[in-house]
């Protein structure tokens, strides 16, 4: 490993901590001796470990801490020091208490302790106990006691690495009340790895002042002229950020719209609440068709009935009952206006095609239209069912259009959607003839899947809505079928769950037209 390269990449915090690791191995010690904040030390340790310059392990350890009195004595001195300082002549116990301001208890502890050290003489004069300094005591006054030295150490301390003197001091102090405490703690021990050690041999470069962040100040003061920049670890992962985003379903819709627009289609849109007249009757769906029943269609309670156009109503009635002027036999049953006025949530976007056809003029043809819009089906929601779903609708209104063209448009669309194998096979819809079902081969599922229905609108539909005969190619495709495999969605409810984590992390629509 290139030592110099590692050094170049060291952050100022790392540069400060690294040399200290020869002396200290715990975070509190490093904090005390580095003038860094704890969080800075922790970060530096983290980075150094990521670079394999240090090892850290965690053990349970007995540690010595300063207790309540210990912290006080560290500031104000040990009581025996205060005792000795105030003993400037032979004094009685009471006098000592008064001048030293020590408590009775402390004074009596000091008496015993100093006597054992031969620092004082205790004599009696009548009822009074008199205390005086000895030579040893005078000597002690001039220098630091080992207990005092011990208190000044940085805590917590590992009792196992104490010198014999320190062990004596520890034992002495530990006997006394609330000066020290010994506790078991989890401790992170940080040690240098061989690489870390060899790195420290370049102390000069290590302690060299480098530029970390390039700031406005640095640019202005031109310090970059004679300093080096710290190298970054360019491979180091950075935290993720959020960004503004379009809903993933809308990205798929935009793409699908672009396909039809590129093929020269005009967009259709319209109401979601429709009369049954437009949604079903105008499309020659018989009034007793099972699809009209309550369990499949959302009907509207408030408001309950809509109005339908008079001129078209007559034509639709005739075509249902006897075929009108279309050459059809019709459904041969009475057509009920009331049923046609019922309001519902559109069951297919084919209703938009019906509205569009009703407004076209012969001289404007040929024309092509598409829409991508919501449809509704009255069913309970689960992972595989939604009551709202998108349909991709298309019509080609062209006096010369034919069934072969229909297959052509569908092939073209699905090729652009990434399906290379598409087939159509016979199917049935009340408003198309011939009718077809579109199947495409799914490489993921290794099987043919249904993608939608298509056909040529029946003359009963076109003659009634357009007012003249003209083939109209039409199709209705499910959006979910194509968007689900792309986004690898397991549950259709994900389209409207709005889970921010999912929305934020969803990939873009990347499919390109082929």
């Amino acid at each position: 490993m290139d030592i110099q390269k590692i050094i170049d990449g060291l952050h100022p915090l790392e540069r400060k901590i690294l040399p200290l690791l020869t002396k200290y191995s715990s975070i509190p010690n490093l904090v005390d001796n580095s003038s860094l904040k704890e969080i800075e030390v922790i970060r530096a340790i983290q980075w150094l470990r990521n670079k394999n310059l240090i090892d850290s392990k965690e053990d349970s350890k007995q540690l010595v801490f300063l207790d309540k009195n210990g912290k006080i004595y560290l500031k104000s001195g040990l009581p025996e020091r205060v005792f000795l300082n105030s003993l400037n002549r032979e004094m009685s116990i009471k006098e000592i208490e008064k001048t030293s301001k020590l408590s009775k208890e402390e004074v009596s502890v000091c008496l015993g302790l100093l006597k054992r050290k031969n620092a004082i003489n205790i004599g009696k004069k009548g009822n009074d106990v008199l205390v005086s300094l000895t030579d040893v005591g005078r000597n002690i006054l001039k220098k630091e006691m080992i207990e005092e030295t011990f208190l000044k150490k940085s805590f917590p301390l590992d009792p196992k690495i104490l010198s014999s003197e320190e062990i004596y001091a520890f034992n002495e102090l530990n006997k006394r009340k609330n000066i020290l405490k010994v506790e078991v703690q989890k401790v992170k021990t940080i040690t240098l790895t061989p690489v870390g050690i060899s790195l420290l041999q370049n102390v000069d470069t290590l302690t060299k002042d480098v530029i970390d962040g390039l700031t406005q100040d640095v640019i202005r003061n031109k310090s970059w002229n004679n300093k080096e920049f710290r190298s970054y670890d360019v491979k180091f992962p950075v935290p993720r950020i959020n960004y503004g985003k379009k809903h993933f379903e809308n990205e798929a819709i935009d793409y699908i719209k672009s396909i039809w627009l590129n093929l020269g289609f005009k967009e259709m849109s319209g109401q979601m609440v429709q009369t049954a007249f437009w949604d079903l009757d105008s499309l020659f769906v018989p009034q007793d068709h099972p699809a009209r029943e309550m369990q499949d269609t959302f009907y509207i309670k408030k408001p309950s009935k809509g109005t339908i156009p008079e001129d078209l109503k007559k034509k639709v009635k005739a075509v249902h009952e006897n075929g009108g002027d279309t050459g059809s036999t019709g459904w041969k049953s009475a057509w009920n206006e009331d049923k046609a006025r019922e309001l519902l949530l559109r069951t297919h976007t084919t209703v938009l095609s019906a509205h569009t056809l009703s407004k076209l003029k012969k001289e404007d043809l040929p024309l092509k239209f598409f829409s991508v819009g919501k449809c509704f089906r009255n069913e309970a929601v689960d992972w595989n069912h939604l009551f709202e779903f998108y349909q991709v609708e298309g019509i080609v209104v062209d006096p010369n259009a034919n069934f072969d063209n229909l297959k052509g448009y569908l092939n073209e669309f699905f090729k652009k959607m990434g399906y290379t194998k598409v087939m159509i096979r016979p199917s049935h819809f009340p408003y198309t003839e011939p009718s077809a079902e579109i199947m495409a081969y799914s490489p993921e599922k290794q099987q043919w899947i249904e993608l939608g229905g298509a056909g040529i609108f029946r003359p009963e539909v076109t003659k009634t809505l357009l007012g003249f005969e003209c083939p109209v190619l039409a199709w209705g495709l499910g959006l979910g079928r194509v968007a689900v495999p792309y986004y690898k969605i397991q549950d259709l409810r994900d389209f409207n769950r709005n889970d921010l984590k999912q929305l934020r992390s969803m990939k873009k629509w990347l499919l390109q037209p082929q």
């Binding site: 075929g323 297959k407 052509g408």
Partner: protein, 590 residues
């Protein structure tokens, strides 16, 4: 659509040829039904409602036989006269006015065959018969019946017979009240003073359609050789087709068809009639629709594959086909016979000009502004409930209500989008903040001036949620939108139950109220269990779009459904671009 299980062995016998499972499944799919699977004994097929004739094994085999070039063309059925008369009494008028009847003799029934017969009858009842409402079928052993047969309506208490599988005489009303089939289908006779019955010359009640047969006279057994069949309902032609489907299946089972003389008060019919129906069909028309170059002989061959004959530009269509309403239906049959797989798929040659809806473009422009601000787009359902729209928002609003939703949570259409944003924020409570979201979608309001009584407009709702979400932050976004669209808006103070008093405003553009902006009230936040401030903007995109006065489209959502646009409203649509207001006269007005 019904799924039917066919016995594979008898299907092969009827076809007179052994075919592999793969070929069988492929041919069924390309014939116009959906083969769901073939196993050792059974073939499972979803039959589309336009081909009830495929519901029987015999019908499917007949169609496959011609489709696979085993036996091409129109299949002739010999119909002899039985001399049996059915008298239709005028009393059935207004109740269940029509019947079509036939007799089939010489059946060799087994338990298996009887089961099959019941299956055909049941599938026809469910599909073509619309659950017996439109057509109900009765089959009776002829031996117990003394002809002529009468079809008439009697008072429920006058009707007394042992219904199928019950050894006890019941009256008409008792059958509807007690018998399981009576309870299931009794609603079909709801409100009728009299119930229809078939009754023979001995005055034995044969059945009470569309409910049930008599146990004595109307029960088929393995010993039964000759049967009387009736179809009852409301349209004669419809019933006749239904009858034809059954009798041809029985003939293919080995029976011989005999006709019955129907005597209506004003008319006589002889049913069944199986000699075919002629329909004019031009080869040119076929080629124009299909984009093929077929010759007359091709058309004849293809129609033959689908069981029709073709002679002198006329097709002869079997009487059991319910789906041939118009020559276009024969064109589809020709396409099927040609094979959908054999169409090449060519695009039209003409060119057309594409046009995206201007409001679609506008909505995407709004999206890009908001995405640039770091907002996430969400999408909620249009269906919701009153609590979410009103109660939790502390705001009363009139809603479009659904009649019959299967889910309690979704009973109305949304009138505003902000409650949906609250739902989204509630769902995402465990994720990091800030959560800044927006949605563009449709809202629904009651409005008599529309054909549907409902006005639909597009809205944009923005929700900022996080510790620093406040009025300033949301107004900054409003300013960004206004700047990007070159709009000059005004604000007026307002009150709104969902917002903190004094921290909510209406946004005005050319005196039209186009948006609300404000901080949501903590009570509303608590109602939703959200413990973070939320600032909201809800903007009427449709109205804004109209006010923007784009050169192209004006009112796109309403163009075909609005009854009349009032003068007042059209006046409102003044240009609002700052730059457009260059004439001093207009400026002084503002």
């Amino acid at each position: 659509m019904p799924t039917v299980k066919y016995n594979k062995k008898s299907l092969m016998e009827l076809l007179g040829r052994k075919v592999s499972d793969e070929v069988l499944s492929n041919r069924i799919n390309y014939l116009g039904a959906n083969c769901e699977g073939v196993d050792e004994n059974e073939v499972t097929v979803e039959v589309f409602p336009n081909r009830p004739d495929l519901l029987s094994e015999q019908g499917l085999a007949r169609a496959l036989s011609s489709f696979m070039d085993i036996k091409l063309g129109f299949k002739k059925y010999d119909v002899k006269k039985s001399g049996v008369k059915v008298v239709v009494d005028k009393s059935v008028k207004g109740i269940r006015p029509f019947t079509a009847c036939a007799i089939v003799k010489g059946l060799k029934l087994t338990d298996e065959k009887i089961k099959e017969l019941i299956q055909i009858q049941e599938k026809l009842h469910i599909t073509y018969g619309r659950n017996r409402k439109k057509a109900a079928i009765g089959i009776y052993p002829l031996e117990h019946i003394k002809t002529p047969i009468y079809y008439k309506a009697l008072h429920p208490e006058e009707i007394k017979f042992k219904p199928l599988d019950l050894n006890k005489d019941l009256t008409g009303s008792q059958i509807l009240a007690i018998h399981p089939t009576g309870r299931e289908y009794g609603y079909l006779l709801d409100g009728k003073e009299k119930y229809p019955v078939f009754i023979d010359a001995k005055q034995s009640i044969m059945s009470m359609p569309p409910i049930i047969n008599s146990n004595n006279v109307g029960k088929i057994a393995v010993t039964t050789k000759d049967v009387f069949i009736e179809c009852s309902g409301f349209e004669f032609d419809y019933l006749h087709t239904c009858l034809n489907i059954i009798v041809t299946a029985l003939a293919d089972m080995g029976g011989h068809i005999y006709s019955v003389d129907l005597s209506y008060p004003d008319k006589k019919h002889v049913t069944p009639e199986l000699s075919g129906r002629e329909l004019k069909l031009d080869v040119e028309y076929v080629n124009k629709i299909l984009g093929l170059e077929l010759k007359e002989s091709d058309v004849k061959k293809y129609l033959g594959r689908m069981g029709h004959d073709y002679k002198n530009k006329k097709a002869l269509v079997p009487n059991y086909r319910a789906d041939i309403l118009h020559p276009i239906d024969l064109v589809e049959d020709i396409a099927i016979a040609h094979g959908y797989e054999n169409f090449k798929g060519t695009l039209s040659e003409f060119s057309t000009v594409a046009q995206e809806k201007p409001i679609s473009i506008f909505k995407n422009q709004l999206r890009s502004i908001l995405i640039g601000l770091g907002l996430i787009e969400v999408k909620n359902y249009h269906l919701t409930n009153k609590d979410n729209q009103s109660k939790l928002m502390n705001y009363n609003i009139d809603l479009v209500e659904l009649e019959n939703s299967v889910t309690q949570e979704y009973t109305v259409l949304r009138a505003w989008v902000t409650p949906n944003l609250m739902e989204t924020l509630r769902y995402n409570k465990h994720y990091e903040y800030p959560q800044n979201i927006f949605e563009i979608g449709t809202v629904f309001k009651l409005d008599d001036s529309y054909d549907t009584g409902v006005k639909e407009t597009d809205r944009l709702a923005i929700g900022l949620c996080g510790s620093d979400a406040n009025f300033t932050k949301i107004k900054q976004i409003l300013d960004v939108i206004a700047e990007a669209l070159e709009l000059k808006y005004d604000l007026t103070e307002t009150e709104h139950g969902s917002f903190i008093k004094g921290r909510v405003a209406r946004v005005l553009l050319s005196n039209s109220k186009i948006a609300y902006v404000g901080e949501l009230h903590p009570q509303v936040l608590m109602n939703w269990g959200i413990e973070m401030p939320v600032a909201v903007l809800e903007l009427n995109v449709t109205e804004l779009f109209n006010l923007m006065n784009f050169p192209n489209d004006k009112v796109e959502v309403t163009e075909h459904s609005k009854k009349t646009v009032s003068k007042k409203e059209s006046k409102k649509q003044k240009p609002v671009h700052k730059k457009v207001h260059s004439k001093p006269k207009k400026k002084s007005k503002r």
